[in-house]
């Protein structure tokens, strides 16, 4: 089976050799990069519909033909999980879309998700040969999304074959991308997998964090449904460490545990006025809107909406918050970021979309104080102007204070989006688990095994706020390592 697939993914396959010959490289590189079909900015900034509409089959095939099918494809080295990029793209070029989807699934558990949320411009696309020729890279992310969506919409989505049950019970803590991909891989190997989730919804950040307009819930639900059909059991409203302890899981016969609880703890800046009404974490804001559907009048959960909303930070979470604020009716929705746009960690596409939707960017500004009214509601914020100094440890230029330059602006809601820390709940209740000084769970770098031999960990709980693809890759690596350990009894 495995060798079979290797063959079909090889660029020496006859069909691929011929496909390469069918067009000259010059012709391929001359084709301009496809533009994503998207909703009009004025329209979409007032509703929750998915902004990107995807490519048509014809667009996808043309874009796929831009790929040169390089002999040593550097794009793969840019992908944290090593997706067979040229292989799936060439399948698209020939119109074998389902084969393209299958190829993606060899390495990525959630291609429809990754095609939507991966920072491709920093990963695969950053390594594309086209860049060396001063051309725009192949739209690998769009193509990934296309193949995954095509498969889902074709109704021919395959449930992966599952090995015959081996009777070994495995517990997964958390149902974000790390937990889901681990569960899928272990189920395929015949394990009896149970996923425990603290919240009432399965999906982790994919559900409570990333908004509908960027990643519709139905896409995530399809993946969860497939896992259920593979025999994975989901238990919601169950906090490991509280409802059930590590000892309970062991007593219940779980032979391996994968801790994928994410990095749920929101950071605040500890500046005066941060506890005023209207100042909240992006986790609170996005959870209210995404998980609790607070913007829907039928929902019992309220959310504070403001006319002038400031979002502090420059990451994806900040972009999601500020674009959500626009959708909830903010007249002014402002990103306040202490560095310049160049250092922003958010995906380029998010920044572009936010701008198009009328979001204002106040870069090189850092909040130092919030001021409220007599009811304790935030009304203004004081901002320190910054300049860029020498590069810091992250390689980005360090923001430095411009003495005396302070500005005050009017706001009625502030969303603090300055990062998250690993949730201390799991380390705090698993005695013997080791943590790093930052509070992350410490693991062996290759096996992802923790100090407790039957506990593995991956995703944001190990990395701090990272990415979906890294979390997913961790899930797959941990599954392989745990499987090997169980089989060889070490």
């Amino acid at each position: 089976m495995a060798t079979d697939h290797k063959n079909t993914l090889s660029r020496d396959e006859l069909w691929r050799v011929e496909l390469r010959k069918a067009k000259k490289n010059k012709e391929r590189t001359d084709i301009p990069r496809v533009r994503m079909n998207e909703l009009d900015a004025a329209y979409r900034s007032r509703n929750n519909e998915e902004v990107n509409l995807g490519l048509t089959g014809a667009q996808a095939r043309l874009e796929a033909s831009r790929c040169l099918d390089c002999p040593s494809p550097s794009c793969i080295t840019g992908c944290p999980v090593g997706v067979q990029i040229p292989a799936f793209i060439k399948y698209i070029e020939t119109g074998r879309f389902l084969d393209a989807a299958k190829t993606l699934k060899e390495t990525s558990a959630l291609p429809a998700v990754c095609g939507r949320v991966c920072p491709q411009e920093k990963q695969c696309e950053a390594q594309c040969i086209h860049l060396k020729m001063k051309k725009e890279p192949v739209a690998i992310g769009y193509l990934e999304r296309f193949a995954a969506d095509y498969e889902r919409e074709s109704g021919q989505m395959s449930v992966p074959t599952v090995a015959s049950p081996n009777g070994t019970r495995i517990a997964v803590i958390g149902s974000g991308p790390a937990g889901l991909s681990f569960a899928g891989d272990m189920a395929k190997r015949g394990y009896e997998v149970t996923v425990f989730e603290a919240l009432h919804e399965i999906g982790g950040v994919l559900k409570y964090g990333i908004p509908e307009f960027r990643l519709p819930n139905r896409i995530v639900d399809v993946e969860i449904d497939i896992l259920s059909r593979m025999g994975v059991t989901f238990v919601n409203n169950c906090i490991i460490g509280k409802t059930l302890t590590y000892e309970d899981l062991r007593a219940d016969g779980f032979k391996g545990i994968f801790a994928a609880g994410g990095a749920g703890l929101p950071n605040f800046m500890n500046i005066p006025g941060e506890n005023l009404i209207g100042v909240m974490s992006s986790n609170e804001y996005l959870t209210r809107v995404n998980l609790m559907d607070a913007a829907n009048p039928e929902s019992d959960t309220p959310v504070l909406t403001g006319r002038r909303v400031a979002v502090i930070g420059g990451g994806n979470t900040a972009m999601d918050s500020v674009r959500t604020a626009r959708r909830l009716g903010a007249e002014r929705a402002i990103i306040v970021y202490r560095r310049s746009q160049e250092e922003m960690p958010a995906r380029l596409e998010e920044v572009k979309h936010a701008r198009e939707e009328g979001v204002e960017f106040l870069t090189l500004h850092n909040p130092i104080e919030y001021l409220g009214d007599d009811k304790g509601r935030v009304r203004q914020m004081r901002l320190q102007k910054m300049a860029l100094g020498e590069p810091d440890a992250s390689g980005r230029r360090r923001p430095v204070v411009i003495e005396g330059e302070i500005e005050t602006i009017d706001v009625d809601a502030v969303i603090v989006s300055v990062g998250v820390s690993p949730n201390p709940l799991i380390p705090g209740t698993f005695s013997g688990l080791e943590v790093t000084p930052r509070g992350a769970v410490a693991v062996d770098e290759t096996t992802l095994r923790t100090a407790l031999p039957d506990v593995y960990a991956g995703g944001d709980i190990v990395r701090g706020g990272a990415t979906v693809i890294l979390a997913m890759g961790d899930g797959r690596r941990a599954a392989a390592a745990m499987d090997a350990a169980i089989k060889t009894n070490v």
């Binding site: 009432h200 409203n237 906090i239 409802t243 506890n275 009404i277 986790n283 309220p302 949730n423």
Partner: protein, 249 residues
């Protein structure tokens, strides 16, 4: 005020005095925190006592026998730190009386002299008096209108004890204003005091910060660091203000 017995064997087994749960009713329901008032491990049930104040609590109070609670998660928060300290005054008002009961029981079992002060507007609103009597050395009843016990506020009841005998610890649960005044009183008498805070919450697992309060000048999350804190360090004014976040003027 309504008392619910809810089937939740896992929570019943692992909960301790001071823990709470998050309850959500229906697809569009809100997640609201409720302190666990008691549990029966054998039967696998927990007891919740709810006062109908807002939309969500009214819905929960409207549940009938046999109805299902869509989502229930817990036990959450840190359990009460129970030890033998000597004489403990437990002051409860409103719905705070229900979660106070397991704490009273725990301190009593630990060998403390426990004096309970129960306060309400009038006689009909005094709850759990019998159970409190069974697990304490004395129960002092205070009503606003004097229809039962002594006429006066919870603080009057507490003060009468502090004047009368040496007290080692005070535990208070009730409306934020009440706890604020109890705390101010015990501060005057230099009695260590623990308050169980009932802030607005969303997830209850430390993920959002909706529940944050200032304790000793530092921001803490009530759902994971609390719900009990050293009352004398709590910024009750800020907490009261934050409780008004969703009151439309």
């Amino acid at each position: 005020m309504v008392k619910l017995e809810v089937e939740a064997p896992l929570i019943a087994r692992s909960r301790k005095a001071g823990h709470f749960v998050i309850v959500k009713l229906g697809e569009k329901g809100e997640r609201i925190p409720l302190t666990i008032a008691g549990a029966d491990t054998e039967k696998g049930i927990i007891t919740l006592v709810i006062q109908a104040v807002g939309n969500s609590s009214r819905k929960i109070c409207g549940l009938n026998e046999g109805d299902v609670i869509t989502d229930l998660v817990g036990p959450l928060g840190q359990a009460t730190h129970v030890s033998k300290v000597g004489t403990v005054v437990c002051a409860g008002g409103g719905v705070g009386v229900a979660p106070l009961l397991p704490i009273v029981e725990a301190f009593h079992q630990a060998g403390n002299r426990v004096i309970v002060v129960l306060a309400a507007r009038s006689k009909e609103l005094i709850i759990l008096e019998e159970q409190m009597r069974a697990s304490s050395d004395e129960v002092v009843i205070m009503t606003d209108d004097g229809s039962y016990g002594t006429k006066g506020l919870v603080t009057d009841g507490v003060e009468s004890i502090l004047i009368r005998e040496k007290t080692d610890l005070c535990v208070t649960i009730g409306p934020a204003v009440m706890m604020k005044f109890v705390s101010a009183l015990t501060m005057k008498y230099k009695i260590p005091t623990v308050a169980s805070l009932n802030t607005i919450m969303v997830d209850g697992t430390g993920m959002c910060g909706a529940c944050r309060v200032t304790v000793g000048g530092k921001t803490r999350f009530v759902c994971v660091d609390g719900p009990e804190f050293d009352a004398h360090q709590v910024d009750f004014d800020e907490m009261l203000m934050r409780l008004g976040a969703y009151n439309t003027k």
